[in-house]
């Protein structure tokens, strides 16, 4: 989708605010949101692709006005409500309760076996490399042009890199295809390439000198550049 999350090349977001000696989390609640997201609290997303798409689908204004973990919190809440696990009223009532009686603690549920499983899963990760039979269409050094894709759903081809000429600089084997996987339509692994595109090609006359952007793009995002 052509959403507000796709900010590469946009103007107007100001200077980069750097914080020296930044802590991993700024607020205690961020820890809990991060933990809930990673342990699949409530509704575990079917995939990282699905999770990313849920974040992209937040209202544009909410997306821009929220911090990173506020977006994650909104995703957790929306997913739990969509799945029928929580209701808006229930959450509102609980907020009211904690507002009027702030000493009410958060109850705890211990599950050492699940904790071990999750810590193990973090160590092993979720590789997206897949074996496929079909041969790669492109080889390192090939000139390509990125397609002008505008799908309604999830995609990892940013707007700024569509319809642009580049060169294949690496081949990573076949990886799970986010555009289908995010929607539960299968992994459909495709060959994945690193594509090198010049700043000049991306931004025209206002490009900065001697700069290239590299993106990791799936085979169906690319066409041979015959020019």
């Amino acid at each position: 989708m052509n959403g507000v999350h796709d900010v590469g090349g946009m103007d107007g977001f100001g200077r980069i605010e750097y914080e020296a000696n930044e802590p991993v989390f700024h607020e205690p609640w961020e820890r809990r949101v991060f933990g809930m997201a990673l342990t699949g609290a409530g509704v575990p997303p079917k995939s990282l692709d699905a999770l990313r798409h849920e974040l992209e689908r937040l209202d544009p204004l909410q997306y821009l006005s929220s911090s990173y973990y506020e977006r994650w919190l909104a995703r957790i809440e929306n997913a739990a409500i969509e799945a029928g696990l929580l209701s808006r009223d229930e959450i509102a009532d609980r907020i009211k309760l904690f507002t009027t009686d702030p000493e009410q603690p958060v109850p705890r549920l211990e599950d050492p076996e699940r904790t071990r499983q999750i810590a193990h899963a973090l160590r092993t990760g979720r590789p997206t490399l897949r074996r496929v039979r079909h041969k790669p269409r492109f080889a390192i050094g090939d000139k390509i042009i990125t397609r002008n894709l505008n799908p309604r759903g999830h995609t990892r081809l940013p707007r700024y890199a569509r319809g642009k000429r580049g060169v294949i600089v690496a081949h990573h084997g076949a990886h799970v295809f986010p555009d289908s996987n995010a929607h539960g339509l299968g992994e459909n692994p495709q060959h994945l390439y690193t594509v090198r595109i010049s700043a000049r090609q991306l931004w025209g006359d206002t490009a900065q000198v001697k700069a290239h952007v590299h993106l990791d793009l799936w085979e169906s995002y690319l066409e041979p550049d015959k020019a």
């Binding site: 977001f13 200077r15 907020i95 958060v106 904790t115 900065q208 290239h212 990791d216």
Partner: protein, 205 residues
Amino acid sequence: MSKQESRQGHHHPRSLSGPALRTKAIESLLVEKGLLASDAIDRVVEIYENEVGPLNGAKVVARAWCDPEYKRRLLRDGTSAIAELGFGGMQGEHMVVVENTPRVHNVICCTLCSCYPWPILGLPPAWYKSLAYRSRIVREPRAVLHEFGLDLPDSVEIRVWDSSAEIRYMVLPQRPPGSAKLSEAQLASLVTRDALVGVGLVKLP
């Protein structure tokens, strides 16, 4: 964490912000319904707060500086070489290490969300996740690096790596001049998160 929160609630009951209250409400409801494990959350937070961070990447870099064979393996297959030092897992399943040289400077980003190589850098800082960094680094990398204090001559090629798939990138910075006598551990202590992202250089103290 739960303890900290309820302690904070006790001492400053009125000071919980909107998202803090909402988080507390959702966590408590999910616990009551048996849908989450409190200790799993504690453990996950502990891992990324205390066990996994840019020191991992720094160790990889120091090893590459001291061991040419390791460096060769690292640049050829980042995931395996990094696993040799015991690092890997979620958000580092497919690692590529890109080398800075006198002619090439690399910098990593994720314009679409905030992908970042967790196992060797930990969780990303706020600026990396900001709309400002995500929007600008691919468009005006020299201007952004200047804001970070890096003024690279026009003769140096800038390579920006936008993490649009599950490949995660780490920069192998240039070893600082005058560091020949330092041990691997001493070298590792010089390597900053910013250098591993590509918005800083490694310098002697």
